[in-house]
């Protein structure tokens, strides 16, 4: 099994406008190995969500390609799962928690028994085994986001893509959810692509942090995070290396915002 899971190659996305062409994404390229946790950060408006949508097959790129597990992505691929920021609008209110987690599995042609097992397993992984019969709107924001994560986990995707999933959640809950993501990555070897605007979060979570420039976006830096894989909120964040790394990322973003970084030629 080849080690490279996802290849983004010279991705470009432009929009038509009355004054000409808007380049949302200029030239983005990176690879992601199987079992990696990669974080993407960038200044506001740099097209992070557009990039994710192109990778997820929800938008067609203007140029360049996205290759997932050897196959080019032309529409939403069946081995990818998405977790959105707006959990309130992403979960279906007429289904219970269990119903929501089970929904994407229904068209995978699995037996009922297998489906139930996957659902229960996913709910246990996110700590919501007791809430299976409740409706999403009966749960708190953090719990709803866990349901969305469980839904993605049960789907057993090759890669899990998360689009600023914890932006709309309070700080304490966010810490718990970050640790949940780390656990899923370590215990299950899930490949995760995580987009965030929170610099600390990107360094805490990622094995790699990709810093995007501002529009027209390209990859400004691809940083390797050499922290110990076993991380926790208190000790890891107090490490001097953590502070070094986050400061570095912060400076990169500031440079990106000011448009100071130059795009490497070729």
């Amino acid at each position: 099994m080849p080690d490279t899971l996802l290849t983004v190659d010279h991705l470009k996305k432009t929009y038509e406008s009355s004054t000409g062409v808007v380049e949302a994404i200029g030239d983005i390229g990176f690879t992601m190995r199987r079992g990696e946790l990669v974080c993407i950060v960038g200044p506001s408006g740099c097209g992070k969500t557009t990039l994710l949508k192109c990778i997820a097959g929800l938008l067609k790129p203007t140029a360049g390609s996205v290759v997932l597990d050897g196959k080019e992505v032309t529409g939403p691929p069946p081995n990818m799962a998405l977790v959105f920021q707006e959990y309130g609008r992403s979960l279906y209110p007429w289904l219970t928690v269990r119903g929501n987690v089970e929904l994407p599995l229904k068209h995978k042609k699995l037996s009922k028994a297998r489906r139930t097992r996957l659902v229960e397993d996913a709910l246990e992984a996110v700590g919501l085994s007791h809430a299976g019969g409740s409706y999403p709107w009966q749960l708190s924001g953090g719990m709803q986001q866990r349901v969305a994560i469980a839904r993605a986990v049960a789907y057993q995707p090759e890669v899990l893509i998360m689009d600023e999933p914890f932006a709309a959640v309070d700080a304490q809950t966010r810490a718990d959810l970050e640790d949940l993501v780390r656990r899923l990555h370590l215990d299950r070897g899930m490949s995760i692509l995580f987009v965030t605007h929170d610099i600390d979060e990107s360094v805490y979570l990622g094995e790699r942090v990709i810093v995007l420039s501002k529009s027209p976006t390209w990859v400004q830096e691809d940083l390797h995070i050499d922290l110990d894989p076993q991380r926790d909120q208190i000790t890891t964040r107090a490490l001097p290396r953590f502070t070094e790394l986050r400061t570095h990322v912060y400076e990169q973003i500031q440079r990106a915002k000011r448009g100071e970084a130059t795009r490497p030629v070729g």
């Binding site: 097959g57 939403p76 799962a81 609008r89 992403s90 279906y92 007429w94 709107w137």
Partner: protein
């Protein structure tokens, strides 16, 4: 004088189960019974020609409708009404879904549909009688044509306005368009659709009454008009009561179905209100 300086809180006295049940029942039937009594008493004091006492009406009700008349007049009317409602709802939802999801079709038909909805349904009756003659099919068709607009237009609206994040979620999990239609679009539109069904039900009843009273020679509505023309006041009233009961029955059935189908929707509303 107690030794304790803190106040002892005794839980408020909850009336026992019987008292609560009794009070519920009293609230439920109190006013109606009171109104009937007032009506009855008024009737004996100052009898009005066209307002017989409740007891007279009750007698006439039993005499008139509990018997062969039920089978010859009431049942066919109800059957036609039921058939028309089912057709109107099915056609309304099916056509509404198709139109709502096909942009060019929707834009093509929208002004026409709004116009047809604005026509007061009863004026269509003479039109349909002229087109199709007075047959059983016509009676059903005219009810369908008059009453399907609310559910159709509400379905169009509901199906159009599916939340974009929900749609992206479904697409990201590679659900096919058909799967999306039944797992997402229709459930999301169901509150709007049910609101349309409620209006459709009441219009259907109106159409049945008018078409039978004035454009037919059989049926429940025809009987009521017949009683009125022949000054059979008590029987006329009993017919009106029966029509009222049918209206109430439709409303009750609808509420039961709606509460079941939209349980989640009411749940959200309650949570928001808290």
């Amino acid at each position: 004088m107690t030794l304790y300086t803190s106040t002892v809180r005794r839980p408020p006295q909850r009336p026992n189960l019987w008292a609560r049940m009794g009070s519920s029942i009293l609230y439920a039937i109190g006013v109606p019974v009171l109104l009937l009594v007032i009506w009855g008493v008024w009737g004996t004091i100052a009898p009005a020609k066209f307002f017989p006492s409740p007891l007279t009406i009750a007698e006439a009700f039993v005499d008139t409708w509990i018997g062969p008349a039920f089978v010859t007049d009431v049942l066919p009317s109800l059957a036609r009404l039921a058939a028309a409602i089912v057709l109107a709802v099915v056609i309304g939802i099916a056509a509404g879904t198709l139109i709502g999801l096909t942009r060019w079709l929707r834009e093509l038909l929208e002004p026409l549909l709004e116009f047809f909805r604005a026509i007061p349904p009863p004026v269509l009756i003479p039109v349909f009688v002229a087109l199709l003659g007075v047959t059983d099919q016509m009676k059903v068709i005219v009810i369908v044509f008059g009453s399907l607009w609310p559910v159709l237009l509400n379905t169009v609206e509901g199906v159009r306005s599916t939340d974009s994040v929900m749609t992206e979620t479904a697409r990201s999990f590679a659900l096919t368009p058909t799967e999306r239609l039944f797992s997402l679009v229709l459930p999301a539109a169901s509150p709007r659709i049910m609101a349309g069904v409620r209006q459709t039900l009441s219009v259907a009843l109106i159409m049945m009454v008018i078409s039978e009273m004035f454009y037919s020679s059989s049926g429940l509505g025809f009987q009521v008009a017949y009683f009125q023309r022949n000054y059979l006041i008590a029987q006329m009233w009993s017919g009106i009561v029966l029509l009222g009961l049918i209206g109430v029955l439709l409303a009750v059935v609808f509420t039961i179905v709606e509460r079941r189908v939209l349980r989640w929707y009411h749940g959200i509303k309650e949570v928001e209100r808290a």
